[in-house]
């Protein structure tokens, strides 16, 4: 199974222990003094939540604590939790496949964020829901990127539409849509070349791919997912902003959450850009992914986990 719930909790074990576990402990016992607030700030920053977001959050909770006369740290935990929840918004909704035509998922991101592996997981996820998945190898730039996707395609039993290395990625996507419609596939997942968001030409190329998809299927791509590496720091916000401008990103796939990184930057991304986090990736296997569940994510952050280290 796509491991709804269970996997995410496991993968967050480390996060929780090393960071929010400490917050819980911190807020659980102490009297509220300056030191507690400072430590809260420190912990948030160390989770890559970001300076501005952290300062705002701590200030808000601090004001609340004062106005509501909360004296014990334990009472503040709920306030912090609510703030974090509020930032993430309502969270992930499952795709509803309202259209009869091809459901197109465009997957974008910087180099090395984990796009191809995440795509394999997404394909598996859709296959498990009985969808007929087709993959488009639109990363025609990086050496052996097409081969990499083809290997996943074989493992998944999914067809891969590919051109020669160096081909126009928009042309690959065009063909893939044609092929998808001809073969009666209902889900097309498009792999794109990793690109730094600061490379204007490459972002234009991406925008072109987006236009080519739209021209053929006006309501597509129904999902444009930005794959973010959970180990990324504050730069992820800038990435999300630029990719959103170029291709109207409407979801985040937070990859590599199985390390010690905290992925705290998603709070700023969700709050500032209104992009929901849709999935988390937690390993290299096809099943190492989960739907992102806001309640669970935030709640999980506050529990001292009993899971063994994954």
């Amino acid at each position: 199974m796509f491991g709804r719930g269970k996997k995410i909790e496991q993968s967050l074990t480390r996060t929780r222990r090393s960071f929010f576990g400490r917050i819980s402990k911190l807020l659980g016992q102490d009297e509220l003094d300056n030191e507690v607030w400072q430590e809260l700030e420190e912990l948030l920053i160390q989770a890559d939540v970001g300076v501005a977001t952290t300062i705002d959050l701590v200030q808000t909770v601090r004001d609340q604590a004062q106005s509501q006369g909360l004296e014990k740290a334990a009472l503040v935990e709920e306030a912090v939790r609510q703030e974090l929840l509020g930032m993430l918004g309502p969270g992930s909704t499952r795709p509803t496949y309202t259209q009869n035509g091809l459901w197109v998922i465009l997957v974008v991101g910087v180099n090395g964020s984990g796009k191809t592996t995440s795509i394999a997981k997404l394909a598996r996820y859709h296959q498990q829901q009985g969808r007929n998945v087709l993959l488009a190898a639109a990363d025609t730039f990086r050496a052996a990127a097409v081969e990499q996707l083809k290997i996943w395609g074989q493992r998944l039993g999914a067809d891969v539409v590919a051109h020669q290395p160096g081909a126009d990625p928009a042309a690959v996507v065009y063909d893939a849509i044609q092929a998808g419609q001809a073969r009666g596939a209902d889900t097309l997942i498009v792999d794109t070349a990793g690109r730094l968001h600061t490379k204007y030409n490459l972002m234009q190329e991406l925008a072109k791919i987006y236009r080519v998809i739209k021209k053929q299927i006006p309501e597509a791509p129904q999902e444009t997912l930005l794959v973010l590496d959970a180990t990324m720091g504050q730069n992820a916000l800038s990435q999300a902003r630029t990719f959103k401008e170029a291709v109207d990103v409407n979801g985040i796939f937070l990859a590599k959450l199985d390390g010690t990184a905290k992925g705290g930057i998603v709070f700023a991304i969700a709050a500032e850009l209104g992009i929901p986090i849709r999935y988390v990736g937690t390993g290299e296997g096809l099943d190492d992914a989960a739907e992102f569940d806001v309640q669970e994510f935030v709640a999980g952050l506050f529990e001292e986990s009993s899971h063994p280290t994954a």
């Binding site: 480390r14 420190e42 920053i45 160390q46 989770a47 890559d48 970001g50 300076v51 501005a52 910087v110 180099n111 090395g112 964020s113 984990g114 191809t116 730039f141 990086r142 050496a143 052996a144 990127a145 081969e147 990499q148 083809k150 290997i151 996943w152 290395p165 730094l196 968001h197 600061t198 490379k199 204007y200 030409n201 234009q204 590496d229 180990t231 990324m232 720091g233 504050q234 730069n235 992820a236 800038s238 590599k256 199985d258 390390g259 010690t260 990184a261 905290k262 705290g264 930057i265 290299e284 280290t309």
Partner: protein
């Protein structure tokens, strides 16, 4: 690279510079800005804490408070401490009997395979005979990727498919290098999490088998606070000898570089600055610190210019940049040369005072648009190139007709050029040179 951090610190220091005398509160206010800037740059929280307290201690010292230019003294201290934190420049250690084994290690997606190829190319330029080793048997098509890169650049690649254990592959490659007289063996290991005990043990095995001269951690410049944990873990398990920071051509502030260097104590050896295989730069802490402090990176620019221009041309260009006698004609003359140096955004980024501009310019002057700019300038008369001021409505129509562009595009070029000229004038009038002299 680092431009965002540069902007921040510049703002702070400009504020400080306006004051003649500093109080303790002033220093603290300035340092608060420094702290925030460093944190926003993803420098690790603890590293920032140490850094700021070191600077503070020195800034409150007698030498500063009694100085006539205390703000400049503070800037000096920040600069010095930053350079100290970044560490001394360090070359690859390839002494002793070849072949030398070089292991590249790191997390998934940090850029090991691309870096392996870049490093091989870099070493070949220095007269080495590199052999690349495809030791990533786990990621689909990783072996193919290295083989394709090798073929593209005419580099030898040792691969044994994906069923042989990596320590075996590496040992075999070393043997092959001895027989075929390769001088450096660069091992592209698979990406792994620092918490993956089994895979970390595999790295230890490889190390035992090949006794590497260098074990380099390849890390993404965009890494956040976790960079310290990653670096510490790898260092603890296999004993790193150096760091390579990749993707420095993005707008990541690169604080990870400071963090990892600071917690491991191993030197930063190279910076990866692009997807092309030539884009590997030696690391120069003073330049990097200069960049952080808003002084641009003229040295790297000139160095790169020298690679593509003849020496005389480079000197001329340096002169132009420094004295700001820069006409549209020079602009055109250099356009062809500059194009060879890499994307415009990267080049501008290195010019003092333009790094903030560079952030906006990629939208305006992209490499594709350079072609149009060339056409427009080519359609101008000599007089027009020397003094663009004379270009009125009728001239504009002629130029745009001649170059197949629109008046709008021409106007844009002219206004951008005026902006650049203004920047250069400011620089020559001493805003930036002032900053420069502060550090001498």
């Amino acid at each position: 690279m680092f431009e965002a951090l540069t902007d921040k610190l510049q703002g702070t220091f400009e504020k400080l510079a306006r004051k003649g005398r500093l109080t303790e509160d002033d220093v603290d206010e300035g340092l608060r800005e420094v702290r925030i800037a460093l944190l926003e740059a993803d420098v690790n929280y603890k590293v920032v804490k140490d850094f700021v307290s070191r600077v503070r201690e020195r800034a409150l010292g007698a030498e500063v408070m009694r100085s006539l230019t205390p703000a400049q003294q503070v800037v000096n201290i920040v600069n010095e401490e930053l350079i100290a934190l970044l560490g001394k420049p360090s070359k690859m250690d390839l002494s002793g009997q070849p072949p030398h084994a070089v292991m590249l290690v790191g997390l998934q997606g940090s850029g090991k395979t691309t870096t392996a190829a870049k490093l091989a190319l870099h070493l070949r330029k220095q007269g080495q005979r590199p052999l690349l080793v495809a030791a990533d048997v786990r990621r689909p098509a990783a072996v193919e990727q290295l083989e394709i890169l090798g073929k593209q650049m005419d580099l030898a690649v040792h691969g044994e498919g994906t069923s042989v254990p990596p320590p075996e592959i590496c040992a075999n490659a070393l043997r092959r290098a001895k027989e075929a007289a390769y001088s450096v063996v660069i091992m592209d290991t698979q990406g792994r999490l620092h918490v993956d005990d089994q895979l970390m043990a595999e790295l230890e095995q490889i190390k035992t088998r090949v006794s590497p001269a260098e074990i380099l951690l390849v890390a993404d410049a965009m890494t956040g606070q976790d960079a310290v944990t990653v670096a510490q873990e790898f260092h603890g398990r296999v004993g790193l000898t150096g760091l390579i920071l990749t993707k420095m051509d993005g707008d990541a502030r690169g604080g990870a570089a400071l963090s990892m260097r600071s917690v491991t104590g191993v030197p930063i050896k190279f910076l990866g600055v692009g997807e092309k295989t030539g884009d590997l730069e030696d690391f120069h802490p003073d330049r990097l610190a200069s960049r952080i402090l808003g002084m641009g990176d003229v040295l790297t620019l000139i160095e790169r210019a020298e690679e593509v221009f003849d020496h005389e041309h480079a000197l001329k260009m340096e002169e132009k940049l420094r004295t700001a006698t820069f006409t549209l004609e020079d602009f055109l003359d250099q356009l062809q040369q500059v194009k060879k140096m890499g994307p415009m955004s990267q080049v501008l980024d290195m010019i003092p005072g333009l790094s903030s501009l560079a952030a906006q310019i990629p939208q305006e002057i992209t490499d594709q648009q350079l072609v149009k700019i060339e056409a427009m300038i080519n359609s101008m008369t000599r007089a027009e190139r020397q003094s663009p001021r004379i270009i009125g409505g009728s001239r504009k129509r002629r130029i745009t007709r001649g170059s197949g562009t629109t008046v709008q595009e021409l106007n844009q070029l002219l206004s951008q050029f005026r902006q650049i000229q203004k920047m250069m004038k400011q620089m020559s009038k001493g805003r930036i040179p002032d900053v420069l002299s502060m550090f001498r």
